[in-house]
């Protein structure tokens, strides 16, 4: 319990730090923040409108510290301000529309990459030095160092434009009405194949390489030798004795890797015009919709914190040392 309280308070502080960056950034940039946000439009506004906007976005003449706490308060109420591009629409509402797409995209691809990557890493450690290991391991490292932009553009070009197997963009066939019917769901699935696959390719090495390294370290342990000496089958030694322990660090990696996945999913959504929050962010960047860009960073931070919390929970389930409190976590 104490472990969780400590983690929770840490996550709260991290969230406040992210919010503070959002608060101070427009204020330390040279020039009037409102001028940066609205640009040319400012010239055509009456002074009353400008004052009203100033009040709406919190760039008032009040002392900075007061503005700061007002801002933190509004973040706590999940009030992220109003979008500039779609003016009276709140940022939180725009983001909510996209969130489900991103969560499904990132969630499913991470799950696939984690399972597949860990399994391939396991195989590579077991058949260490074989042709499989000497091809798969460097190959996955090389894949990891290819930016997701390149992976996405290549996949789009080959499988969507070239072979025509998959649609070139968007989350579902725009002629269909969203609903819980087979036609719509299969359209969603068909549109999701390429984005999910590119994200799996993008992340897989992040799970495969540590798994291989952990297993290689573990396979030298006495209890593995003991297991084999007892005459247990290879698969039992591999999965019950080795994999269970080697997976532990991977779970922490899972949460950490999410930061990179979020970056990858952003690009995937941009390239495939996928209607998630990454694509919304891209639109916001194009129209310099700063409140939306900032809201975006906050929501991604939240996603990261939740993922970390889940990883903490998983860790407790997987590692008995944390549960009894004897381990120093």
């Amino acid at each position: 319990m104490r472990f969780f309280l400590r983690r929770l308070s840490f996550y709260l502080v991290a969230l406040i730090v992210a919010a503070s960056i959002n608060f101070f950034l427009p204020r330390i940039m040279p020039g009037d923040p409102l001028q940066i946000m609205f640009g040319q439009q400012m010239a055509r506004m009456t002074p009353e409108t400008v004052d009203a906007l100033r009040a709406t976005y919190g760039f008032t003449d009040e002392p900075l510290i007061q503005q700061y706490f007002q801002y933190l308060g509004s973040v706590a109420r999940w009030d992220l301000g109003l979008s500039v591009r779609e003016f009276p629409k709140p940022v939180s509402e725009i983001l909510r529309e996209g969130l489900i797409w991103t969560v499904v995209l990132v969630g499913s691809s991470t799950l696939i990459a984690f399972t597949l990557g860990s399994f391939l890493g396991l195989l590579a450690s077991w058949f260490r030095g074989s042709w499989y290991d000497s091809i798969a391991t460097p190959l996955s490292l090389v894949m990891q160092s290819i930016p997701s932009v390149v992976i996405c553009l290549t996949a789009l070009f080959i499988f969507a434009l070239g072979l025509g197997w998959f649609p070139t963009g968007y989350g579902y066939d725009p002629q269909l009405d969203p609903g819980w019917n087979l036609e719509f769901i299969s359209s969603v699935a068909h549109h999701a194949v390429l984005p999910v696959l590119t994200l799996v390719v993008f992340q897989m090495a992040a799970f495969m390489i540590p798994m291989r390294a952990n297993m290689i370290n573990l396979l030298g342990e006495d209890y593995i030798t003991m297991g084999r000496a007892k005459g247990l089958s290879s698969s039992r030694v591999l999965f019950q004795y080795g994999a269970r322990n080697a997976l532990l660090p991977s779970v922490t990696t899972l949460a950490m890797a999410l930061g990179f996945v979020v970056g990858g999913s952003f690009i995937t959504e941009v390239v495939f015009n996928y209607p998630g929050i990454g694509y919304i962010m891209f639109q916001a960047i194009l129209s310099r919709d700063y409140p939306l860009i900032q809201g975006h960073m906050l929501i991604f931070t939240m996603v990261m914190l939740i993922a970390n919390l889940i990883a903490d929970l998983l860790y407790v389930i997987l590692d008995p040392r944390v549960r009894t409190g004897s381990g120093d976590a």
Partner: protein, 297 residues
Amino acid sequence: MLFFKLLLKNRQALIGLAILSIFILSALFAPLLAPHDPKRRVGGIHQPPSAEHILGTTRLGRDIYSQVLHAGRISIAVGLAAGLITTIIAVVTGLSAGYFGGRIDDVITFCTNVILVIPQLPLLIVLAAFIGQVSPFLIAMIIGFTSWAWGSRVIRSQTMALRQKEFIHSAELMGEASWRIITVELLPNLISIIGSGFIGAVIYSIMTQATLEFIGLGDPSSVSWGTMLYHAQTSSAMWVGAWWDILVPCVAISLFGAGLALLNFAVDEIANPKLRANSAMRRWKKMQKQIARESQA
């Protein structure tokens, strides 16, 4: 120099080094190698590769071969600069946290953890969006100053492990100054971890720079692999069938990244003898076969 001997014996390292040297040399001598000015219109719109333009031209009629050579200079320079900044901050914070412990460790570890849970790319995008069209130099700075946390954590834990070793204890008992212990006793033992961290940071920086520029946050008038991709995408090169416009920067980034990754893989293997399995396993298997043969005979 056992390290370099092992490096040159490693096939992956050799391939990696070969790729990297080709890229770095062609970037250094880009003005001599490039037949055209990368920012000038020298041909028709979206000309496919031909004898005149080996890699074709862009929408604005610029020679892609000349562009990719010049772009390499900026992309590689940004990668190296950002990687260097990242590594220096990671080494300084990681070493001091791991060596001094106590208050200093608490503060540094806290900062590292906070940075680790704030997602990188959205943070960079917010920073870049407020700065406006970000020059390559500024891109290197913001990447460098925001991505050191992971390296710092790795170096810290390694330092803490080393700190327990006898040679550090004896150095402390002899009354050596802590700066001397850190630079003379600790640093040499961390060099492989720092080296592979540096290579990783360069890979990451080049990827991130390309990403930021691809989504239009870079300075579109500079010529780098990222801005090449940006211009190709905004001129719908893929949709009008000008695949060479997209393919060339993609291949350049991927190959350079692959070269770095191969080198890093080799460095890891050399630094961690447990991972140095391939050759040892092969020898072991050969030995087993020989034993089997001998016992049959």
